[in-house]
């Protein structure tokens, strides 16, 4: 598990999903971010860098 998502902070803006180069992230039915392909994560940190809500962290 390299991704830590704090769901209560996520507002579903979708920025992380749009900038993830490996399509790891997607919005759930209730518009919260989920790691749908965590196995593809390369830990580049784009999601953490761009999240305006401090809701996703990449654990190295």
């Amino acid at each position: 598990m390299s991704l830590k998502i704090i769901t209560e902070r996520c507002k579903g803006c979708g920025i992380c999903a749009a900038f993830c180069p490996k399509q790891v992230l997607a919005l759930s039915e209730i518009e919260k971010i989920e790691a749908v392909h965590e196995e593809n994560c390369i830990k580049c940190g784009q999601c953490e860098l761009r999240c305006p809500d401090y809701a996703i962290f990449v654990e190295k």
Binding site: E8, G12, C13, G14, A17, A18, F19, P52, Y54, E59
Partner: protein, 276 residues
């Protein structure tokens, strides 16, 4: 330190989630501020963050330093008082484009003119976000606003040029897309002794983006990526290529002018020493 630990250390985490809309750039800029402070290893008690009023100015309430959430346009006079009372403090000012350049525009030019040592992070989302999308002096000409349903007819200030002309001795610009560069520039601004202004170009998807059909939050960040040009590349561009774009990086630095609190201390020493 990991970003998660930075948030726990420098924020008041119990105040999160913050009030900003989904995809608002304010959270990114506020994150860059704490990364810059951490990079410089400043003591929390040695930092004061003063803000005005606006969505952006809410940032001071989330940060665990000495903070003042002041009145609309008045962050700089409050910050000037704080800095003069204790010049050893690192003073940061968090302000919006409306806060800093409309109601607070006069304070901005005079703080710059005095070259007082503080670092202004100007959250430029091109609009009055908090009050529902009225245009500001930094709204690009031709943009729609609730006060300009047929689009603005007035040109915007280039706030970096204005700050430089008024006497600021460190002037820089980045965007929320260029978050790492923004962090570096804020750190440089804090290190600079004198008046520093960093324009942080930010997306307001709700009050600006919707009216101007800029797409969603990620599209607004991509717009920043495609319109912000590193200074070295910018300097090689023709006027035609520059149209609609803007340079990012350190745009002005002058280390020759005396800083205001230093001049004030000299005045005190002179007066108390009885020197004629």
């Amino acid at each position: 330190m990991s970003m998660e630990n930075l948030i726990n250390k420098y924020f008041r985490p119990g105040r999160l989630p913050h009030i900003w809309c989904p995809g608002c750039g304010n959270g990114v800029i506020t994150g860059c501020i704490v990364k810059a402070i951490d990079k410089l290893a400043l003591e929390k008690d040695n930092v004061a963050v003063i803000s005005g009023i606006g969505c952006s100015s809410r940032a001071s309430g989330y940060l665990d330093f000495n903070t003042v959430h002041s009145a609309h346009g008045r962050a700089l006079p409050v910050a000037t008082g704080v800095k003069l009372a204790d010049p050893s403090l690192k003073v940061l000012v968090v302000t919006g484009d409306g806060d800093a350049t409309a109601i607070g525009g006069n304070h901005l030019i005079h703080a710059a003119r005095r070259n007082i040592d503080m670092t202004v992070v100007l959250f430029n989302n091109s609009i009055y976000g908090m009050t529902g999308g009225q245009y500001s002096p930094l709204t690009p000409q031709g943009s729609k606003a609730t006060t300009a349903p047929y689009a603005t007819i007035e040109p915007a200030f280039d706030i970096t040029e204005l700050a430089k002309a008024a006497g600021a001795t460190f002037v820089a610009r980045a965007t929320t897309f260029h978050a790492q560069i923004l962090t570096d520039l804020i750190a440089k601004g804090i290190q600079h002794k004198g008046f520093s202004l960093i324009e942080a170009v930010s997306g307001c998807p709700i009050s600006f983006g919707r009216q101007n059909k800029m797409g969603g939050p990620a599209d607004m960040m991509k717009w920043q990526r495609d319109h912000g040009v590193m200074l070295a590349a910018w300097n090689k561009m023709t006027d035609e290529q520059k149209a609609g774009k803007f340079p990012i990086g350190v745009l002005h630095e002058d280390n020759s002018r005396k800083e205001y609190t230093e001049a004030y201390d000299e005045l005190i020493a002179r007066a108390q020493g009885g020197n004629k």
